[in-house]
Symmetry: C2
């Protein structure tokens, strides 16, 4: 039998998983610092839930890439392709949930789509969402989390911000009624440039006049002040007002790396207000490290309720964050172990010593029968363990251990207590 | 549309997920203390890999409960039903891996089987395995991890230990050639008692004479010394020797809660030496909290190699551990937040203050536009947040904040610095 993984998925080896855990720990720490609580929803969902109107699955492109399966009772199931729809289902199923409900979730999502560099069929999303608050303070708080996370990860970022109401207003002003399709085209502005967007809008059936007036507004208006003079419809003006309020909060919170970007749209159909995306300008990774926005209608549509349940959230992309950290050499740890204990004919005494190290919270690896000093030193070196503790009869007779620094090859004969101090 | 989860899966709400994270953090901490490194394998595997000979999937009962699906390229895939087969595949695909390779993995596994209390179709396994070492030190080290984990979780446990070579020797002695089927029956000893096992052995076609001599050896021989006198075949004696060596290491490591149990078998077919299971005698949860053993042949069989790659490992059952902790009231935290900041007409100043708290690593929640003091106090109380910081114009004028202890309702007017000291 040929051994291989399924197409489009991969193993994460230890040195990479150590980094991934570090990033996820940072995310969790900051999420909880801002009062978000963990939720776990299952990977398996009913197909019906994921395909529901108002959700991302209503977009046929997403649904086409959804892995489907059946259980033994012939029920149609699917692997979740994002975490948001499951949150909306959870909120719908728990009507007594105290609002605002601030939750985070980190887990695998699945898409049976084309594979390219950095794009997998099984990948992780780390989401924070606040549901049940229409206040722009909730939007600001999410950007507070973003700012704090990337500060802790020591990455320089830019947060691009726009607003769907403003975008709708601009499209309205340009005489465009069929807005959703135009937004999907506009979302590619950063990737394919204005010419690309124009030809895509043409393909999507917009007239030259519509496209022309749209671009006049978009390209000439780089600031909110400019736009305020041009927009004369209610929705557009509401969008501008929301953006001004949000930027006010960000100023109070001393978040200075946030900028207004009129071309930012976000592809998914369910956004209703603020949209944002996070980039690292120093990184060779072009894709965004995080993105999100307001989605005030989805839960009500799923639940079949007339009252909207407002929501705002953001997803961190673990893969682009890790690729950025790796490319900027901010990742070095290969192992968690501090020391490798090597008995030379002294298994019983050495076993006692390695247990003492672990009791003192020193991560310690132990020789499991590998023969020969040089083979063992080579093993510890390959694993990147910084120290080897050699324990032979000579050392025991002197009530000492030999501690070898794997970095420079120096060795010191120390009492166990002194060795512990050094390893701490 | 009716909102519900897929059959047999469930949502883990925040208060439960906080506990789950705590347990998983403890596991990770101890795993790394013992030199195990994290690995992540995908949930999606090729069906062929999971069904391979020598693996657990060769057991038709397991394979029948495997969720299968196809990708758009019509490739047959499956959701993993355990983590061990994926580790074997990983080792087979990475022949230059430094041995011994000590890894841990925590993740969801899936079984499309009958549902009962505490039994789900999507559940978590937390595995540690050492591959590439035949030394019983590796078995002892795994039990060291077990002992350390449950000490940190403050749970009193018993580790039951047996050995498949010894079991094979006992079966040999009883004239039983078809051993695997008898072992599956014997594994139920704890659940269905001797009578149940006897009738199961009868159903599986063993003769009265075979069953009789098997039970004579099993029930009368509760110690290794007893067995040593009775067993006269090589495999059985080898099993006894291995057990004696292992118990010697455990004594050195001061692991005193490990006992020999001749009726312990473990159901899966791939075990080759030591087997162990962990129980909490104080808990209303009857099922084992962890279990595992040696599986020296599986990797070679998967890879199609003539040389065995020895391996020993153990899986922690997150669900029974959590059920035990909950039933023993060792779980109390409802939220990570220390304080809820409530501005009364002072949003800008309060927003500055909540950001200062977060900078000082104090997990702080912030009022997102909910109106009225009593509604906000009720919200903080439901979430289990221990303090509320009330900030009105009066407080700001005095350069103070009002800190309310939600436990006893007392309030103190403090400077921000004093409040921070109290919250730390």
């Amino acid at each position: 039998m040929e051994l291989q993984t399924a197409k489009g998925v991969r193993d994460i080896p230890p040195e990479e998983k150590i980094l991934k855990n570090k990033v996820m720990d940072t995310l969790r720490e900051v999420f909880e610092l801002y009062g978000f609580m963990p939720l776990e929803t299952p990977i398996l969902e009913r197909f019906e839930t994921l395909a529901a109107k108002g959700g991302a699955g209503a977009d046929s492109d997403v649904l086409k890439e959804t892995f489907t399966l059946k259980d033994q009772g012939d029920r149609k199931l699917a692997l979740r392709f994002e975490l948001t729809t499951s949150l909306a289902r959870y909120a719908g199923m728990n009507p007594t949930l105290k609002m605002p409900f601030k939750r985070y979730e980190m887990g695998q999502v699945f898409r049976d789509g084309p594979i390219k560099l950095g794009r997998y069929r099984e990948f992780w999303q780390c989401d924070i969402d606040t549901i049940g608050s229409a206040s722009l303070l909730a939007d600001a708080e999410i950007l507070g989390v973003v700012n704090n996370v990337f500060k802790k990860l020591d990455l320089n970022i830019i947060i691009k911000i726009n607003n769907r109401k403003l975008l709708n207003g601009i499209l309205e002003q340009a005489g465009i009624k069929e807005k959703e399709s135009a937004i999907i085209a506009l979302d590619k502005y950063d990737k394919i440039g204005p010419k690309g967007v124009i030809s895509e809008l043409e393909q999507r059936g917009y007239s030259a006049k519509q496209i022309d007036s749209l671009f006049k507004i978009v390209t000439d208006s780089m600031s909110l002040e400019d736009l305020q003079k041009k927009i004369n419809n209610e929705e557009g003006l509401k969008g501008i007002k929301e953006l001004e309020e949000l930027f006010g909060y960000l100023k109070t919170m001393k978040i200075e790396n946030a900028v207004f970007d009129v071309s930012l749209a976000r592809g998914l159909g369910y956004y209703t207000g603020t949209v944002f995306e996070v980039y690292c300008p120093d990184s060779p990774v072009n894709s965004s490290l995080a993105g999100g926005g307001r989605w005030d209608n989805m839960i009500a549509k799923l639940v079949g309720n007339n009252n909207d349940i407002p929501a705002v959230g953001l997803a961190f992309g673990l893969e682009p964050i890790m690729d950025t950290l790796k490319s900027m050499k901010k990742a070095t740890t290969k192992t968690a172990s501090k020391v490798y204990v090597l008995p030379i004919g002294t298994i019983t005494e050495s076993l006692k010593i390695v247990q003492q190290l672990r009791e003192k919270d020193i991560a310690a690896d132990f020789c499991l029968g590998k023969k020969g000093v040089s083979k063992n030193l080579d093993y510890a070196s390959t694993l990147g363990i910084p120290y080897v503790m050699i324990i032979g009869d000579n050392e025991l007779a002197k009530k000492k251990v030999l501690l070898r620094d794997m970095n420079d090859g120096t060795e010191q004969l120390l009492t166990l207590n002194d060795a512990i101090k050094k390893l701490k």
